[in-house]
């Protein structure tokens, strides 16, 4: 048996080498693209504004120089990736590379104009929030070995409940209700996956279809007829933290946001501490890596899985409320539009780690805000292609990175107590 397992590892190795090579080639291709399209023939300077007012905190750079610099860096990265690779830092390097690519792209698109970077970074955080909540929910579940494809459905349920409870009672109760609704969806997933040992990916898809059907059904039955009485919660405004919000650049991004963003930061810190520094975290990770061993040591595998999946549902439900109470202000059918799945990709990109998940969500949020910005800049690129950007980035990330990051060993496997 050991021999077979050893051979299996040996057989898998070429796939990893191939993956590293593909990523290296992608870097080189991007270097060429950046040079040919963004550098050659581009004229004019681009001004990135970091302050609130024009002229406050500006830096101006030639778009051509920026693009050429990016191309050189990409060629360099490609060379390293093809020869010795970046090892554990691959994802971080890729995230920085995506950011740099976006900058040179922006420089090309806005050549001769100025661009409010601070506004874009603010949008990035706002657009990253639901993705981050989805990713954190995924981390919570998958660390104990339960794959959660149902994040999308939990976000949607949270969005719906947040809107309704937020209108009927108050936005804060709306948030609470959203979290609980997400938690209930997660409990359904947990019962299917843990008790009835249903294929976890299918169970998650069921959650998604069910949530879509349920929210659409209830929305068309009730919300459409009585929008002002049931679907009009309003948006929670930003809470400005005194002093800290005055810090240039970072102050506005970090300390002048609504409650969802603060909770997001707290959650990342809390989960990182909880998962890696506490007894609960050690037990949870043990359950996700080797449930049998954990069981032998007296950890109740089933209870640990139930509780953590429920907590994951609370997080996703809370994040779902962001759609209605944090940004749009009303529920629309299927308004999550795949953000839960992007959150799943962010979780993988972030290597099942809360900090990584947040970082990855910010990358996706940046891609999202870039698309918004480019739509305004009117570059001649069809909006349909810009709208595809976040999805395309997700595919590249999953294809380039997933094999390198190792999921919890028992992820997706039902546990049968003997």
């Amino acid at each position: 048996m050991t021999a077979v397992a050893g051979t299996a590892d040996f057989v898998r190795a070429p796939a990893e080498i191939r993956r590293a090579r593909i990523l290296g080639i992608v870097y080189l291709l991007l270097a060429t693209v950046v040079f040919l399209f963004f550098a050659v023939g581009t004229e004019g300077d681009v001004t990135f504004r970091l302050g609130d007012q024009p002229g406050d905190l500006d830096f101006t750079v030639s778009a051509q120089v920026l693009a050429t610099f990016t191309a050189v860096v990409f060629a360099f990265l490609g060379g390293i990736q093809l020869t010795k690779g970046f090892g554990a830092k691959t994802n971080v390097v890729l995230a920085i590379a995506i950011g740099l690519f976006a900058f040179s792209f922006l420089g090309w698109a806005a050549a001769g104009k100025s661009l409010s970077l601070i506004g874009m970074l603010g949008t990035t955080v706002a657009l990253a929030a639901p993705i981050a909540f989805g990713a954190l929910s995924g981390v919570m579940c998958e660390r104990v070995g339960v794959i959660n494809i149902g994040i999308e459905g939990m976000l949607l349920t949270g969005a719906f409940t947040g809107a309704v409870v937020g209108t009927v009672m108050s936005p804060l109760f709306g948030i609470l209700g959203a979290a609980i609704a997400g938690g209930l969806m997660a409990l359904a997933l947990a019962v299917l996956a843990i008790k009835y040992r249903v294929d976890q990916i299918i169970a998650g898809v069921v959650i998604n279809i069910f949530a879509l059907g349920l929210t659409s059904f209830l929305s068309s039955q009730f919300l459409v007829e009585n929008a002002s009485g049931l679907n009009n919660p309003g948006v929670l405004g930003p809470i400005r933290i005194p002093l800290l919000a005055e810090i240039p650049v970072l102050g506005r991004i970090l300390f002048d946001q609504n409650i969802f963003i603060y909770v997001m930061y707290l959650l990342v810190a809390g989960m990182t501490y909880g998962l890696f520094k506490t007894r609960w975290g050690l037990q949870s990770r043990a359950v996700g890596e080797h449930p049998k061993a954990a069981d032998t040591l007296g950890i109740n595998v089933f209870r640990r899985r139930y509780i953590n999946v429920f907590l994951g549902g609370l997080i996703a439900g809370f994040g779902g409320a962001y759609f209605t109470l944090g940004s749009v202000g009303a529920f629309n059918e299927n308004m999550t539009a795949g953000r839960g799945f992007i959150g799943l990709a962010a979780m993988i990109f972030g290597r099942w780690h809360p900090v990584g998940a947040l970082g990855a969500a910010l990358v996706f949020g940046f891609a999202d805000s870039l698309q918004v910005k480019l739509g305004i800049l009117d570059t001649g690129i069809p909006s349909e292609f810009l709208l595809s950007a976040p999805y395309l980035v997700t595919i590249i990330v999953v294809a380039g990175v997933v094999g390198k990051a190792r999921p919890p060993a028992a992820d997706g496997q039902p546990y049968i107590k003997e």
């Binding site: 009835y196 040992r197 294929d199 659409s216 039955q221 595919i395 999953v398 294809a399």
Partner: protein
Amino acid sequence: MSDEGTEAKENKEPKEPRWVERVAPKNVDWSSLAVIPFLAVFSALVVGAVFIIFTEGLGSVLPAYGALLRGAFGGWNSISETLLVATPLIFAGLAVALGFQAGLFNIGAEGQMTIGGLTAVIVGISFEGLPAVIHLPLALAAGFVGGALWGFIPGVLRAKTGAHEVITTIMLNFIAFRILDYILKQPFTQAEGRFDPISKDVLESARLPRILTWLPVEGVEMLRLNLGFILALAVAWIVYWILFKSTIGFEFRAVGANPDAAKYGGMAVTSAIILVMVLAGGLAGLGGSNETLGVLGRAFPGFTAQIGFDAIALALLGRSHPGGVVLSAILFGALRVGGRAMQVETDVGIDLIIIIQALIIVFVAAPELVRAIYRIKGGEEARQLTRGWST
């Protein structure tokens, strides 16, 4: 039911590896195979009734379900509509089922249908003057190729990089919708005088002809069932033949049961995964073409109408078997057509159908749950159809 006990005893001492048993089962337990899906559908309808009671009151259940049944099967027109709606579901259901057989979860049927339907339309609005015997097959082939391409991408990514098909296919769905929007606004495809994304009408020579016009009944010109249904049945048989009678089909199923064992057995796992996704994409592409060349006669955003997602439910209900897929597709077609009648005649919204379908998957995917409810003993375990994140 009685011989299940002896079967369980035999299973305790398996002479062959488990995956061989799964790929080529010697005894098919037909009673369990049919009983669980039947009870699943029944239970889902019961829970659906609870939703009706909750929203519209107790008195609405029978009228609503009555309208659903009449709308689906009450008369020639209803039957024609049910089978018409079932046709793309058969294609898309086969696309998902084929993936399941090879251990791949193809959530991308919707996007594959979109691209396939689009490529079919592009051929369908070009080549004026071509005879139908050439034009129609050409347009259908284009639909197959378009869908196959959209299946090829996640297939290659899965086989070569290990990127999970669940994520890549979902992302490709979104991208497909954008591509559709974009192409439909190009002067070559956009209907004249329109500013919204909608294609020109497919030429008559590339339309799927109606097949019930010979019936000696009144209102025969209303019967919209077309050649696509016959084609779907034929394709289902071909998929059955490939899966269960050909060597390549055995490889597909072996890869699905245990990719490592398949690899040591000398099978080309990488190319099997790519081929499965290409074929699955092509099948879904045919489903999309059926909509654009048959029912709608043009393409517009959202013409796939969630069929690719319903396909997941019916592939599970049909146990990933082509025959089961055909039967489940007809059931789902009935639910959709009947659901429309239900919405018109009573106040119960058609979204109830989505809830019922989700419940059907729950019950089918969790046979132990159904057994617990109806106190049926023994039988099979919940199957692990998909694989986790790592290859």
